[in-house]
Structure formats: C-alpha cells, structure tokens
Symmetry: C2
Subunit: 202 residues, 2 copies
C-alpha cells in the first residue's frame, strides 16, 4: 500500500509525464526546459500536456509534492515501529538514500529548491518539508540523547540534522553505482560517519 493520493484522482498518464519531465528538468533546469521539450520526451503534443496540469509551474509542484509525500510516508512508518533509536536512525538514512538513488532526477529537482511558486503551492511544499525535517530531527535527537545520556539544545540538534542531510542530499553530485557501491553501502557509510566519525570501522 503506497500513498496513492496526491491531491485528486488524475493519475492515468501523469506519473509517466512527471518521471520523464523530471529527468529532463534535472539536466536542463526548470527554466531551461521548455514545454516543447517536455512534449517531445513525453511523446505528446504541446497543447496536449495542459490536460494534465494547468501550467508549467504546477508540473514542478507535482514533482515536488509526489517526492516529499513519499519520503514523509516512509519516515512516518518508521516512528510507528518498535526499534532502538540507533536502528531507527539507520533506517531513516537507508530509506532516504535508497529513495534518492532510485529517483535521482526528482531528488535533484526537489533539493534544488528555492523556486518561486504560487503562494498556495509553496505553502504546501513548505509544510511537507517542515514535517519531514521535524521527524528527522526527532529521530536524530532520540539517538543522540540515548547515546550520550545528555539533552541537546534545539539549535544544536537542528544543525546536526542539517549536516546529516547534507551528506545524504549531496549524493546527486557524485554518485555512480559501479564506483561507490549500492545504496546499502552508502547508507552504512553515512550512518557510521555520522555516529562515530570518518575513521570508524565498526
């Protein structure tokens, strides 16, 4: 059972369009990709695309919404399961990295962020990102409290969580499967580095 609900039921060819559009936009950038380019890669006519979204900006919004909703659902599942804080952190990293590597193009768009949008759309995305960030900070905080026996200030936890996300989100700039291993190997390396430092061999 996946999320299945974006905002309404139009999903026939939308997913295919979002995938192919994300691939092109990840290379050329949002403004660098024209509606005519998108018509080309999706095998549709220029005007035909407007059946699936009302304007180009909504396409960008939908790509972001779909991705963050998936990430959020995975993180939420994690909080419901019974496991140690360390195991939960490891799983958070593994989920994020695996999703990242499986959806490099979308993630590149999602992490490029800062694109201006319709107020309503950017509000929705901001809330999704905020919620995901809050869950992550909670998981990181639980781990650090358990591990060290002390409480950390909010801004410290916030900074640490950003450092972790930096390691994970920078993947799009360098990752290649044959050179850097599987998602599992990368995830383990990030977990080990974040929790024990770069020289830890476990």
């Amino acid at each position: 059972m996946t999320s299945q609900a974006t905002i309404d039921k139009r999903l026939t060819g939308l997913d295919e369009i979002l995938d192919k559009s994300a691939q092109l936009m990840a290379r050329l950038g949002y403004h660098g990709t024209s509606m005519r380019d998108l018509a080309g890669v999706t095998g549709r006519s220029l005007s035909g695309l407007y059946h699936y979204f009302s304007d180009k900006e909504e396409l960008l919004f939908l790509i972001n919404q779909r991705g963050f909703t998936s990430l959020l659902a995975m993180a939420n599942d994690l909080l419901g399961q019974n496991m140690t804080p360390a195991a939960r952190l490891a799983r958070l990293i593994e989920n994020h990295v695996s999703y990242f590597i499986d959806h490099l193009s979308e993630m590149r768009i999602m992490t490029s962020g800062g694109m201006e949008m319709n107020d309503e759309r950017s509000r929705i995305l901001r809330e999704l990102k905020q919620e995901y960030t809050n869950l992550a900070r909670k998981i990181v905080g639980d781990y650090m409290r358990t591990e060290s026996g002390t409480d950390y200030a909010d801004n410290i936890l916030s900074r640490k969580t950003f450092l972790l996300y930096g390691m994970m989100n920078w993947i799009f700039g360098w990752y290649s499967a044959e050179e850097h291993g599987t998602a599992q190997q990368v995830s383990e390396d990030i977990f080990r580095t974040f929790t024990k430092g770069c020289c830890a061999t476990e």
Copy 2:
C-alpha cells in the same frame, strides 16, 4: 596577496557585475534570469553588459571560475604550511565554510553545477573542480591514515570526502547567522562531526 589573475586584465566593473548577477541568479536560476534583469540590478543598459562578456554563458563561467580559483588558492596555501593533518583538515573546512558563508550566492551557483557550456569553458571548470577535489581528498586521506594507522582504498577516501563536502555544501539550504552561529562555530561542528561523530563534545 590574493589570486588577482583570472584570465586577463578586465576587472574594472566586472567584479561588481559578477556579484550582483550571482545574487539574482542564485534566486531565479541561470535560465530564469534574463539579460534585462541583469541590466536592471547592475544599473547598466542591456547592450552595455556585452562590453564585459561575450555572451550570457560566459558570465556564468566567470562566476564559477572566480569562485573555484579562490577556493583552490586557499587549499593550495594550506598544503604549503607546516601543520598536523588534523589541523590541516580543520583549516580546510574553516576556509571552505567561511568562503561559502561570505559568498552564499556564488556558491549556490557553483554547487548547482551540471550546467551545459562551451567545451573549452566546461573543461576549465572541470579541471578546477577536479584539482580542488584532489587536494581535499589528499587532506582527508592524510588525516585518516594518521589517525587510524591504516591505509584506505581510493574509493573509500573518495566517498568520505564527498560526505564531508555534502555537510559543507548543504549550508546554502539552511544557514542563517543568528540561528546557527558564526562560520567558525559551524566549521568546528562539521570538523567534530566528521572526525568523531555527532555526539562528540570534544
């Protein structure tokens, strides 16, 4: 004595143009920023801009070249100085983070990468980045060998270096001075996290 030489001597109003252009491009993206926008923020006429560069793409190139040349010069200085591997790593991080925070807009453009360019231009940038990456991997490698007494494979060192750069380069997404402290504080946090793990209190 800084670098001072980019590729030739035209520097009169160029630096000002590069600064202001980078600020706008960091918000709107390269393709999202028009030459007319740039004429506006630089207080010049549209056609007058072409006195400083031959086309829009060269502007992007110059912003990148200037930034990477500065970063590279700092890293090169570091290798010439006599210090422990740990201290050198700490200084590499401090230099990078300080430069990042002082030039958030340029760094945002530089790290957004992947923009297609003229072959010659992209070759020059690729080599600059490569050289900087090599220096960083060397510094990280020296630290890890000294600290652990063992040698690490190249792909391991490469991955670790990318994780470090992830922590540093993700700054543009979250950093605010009043909430996350000075460049020094952020640098120390990154150094400590990378070398000892997130719970290290020094």
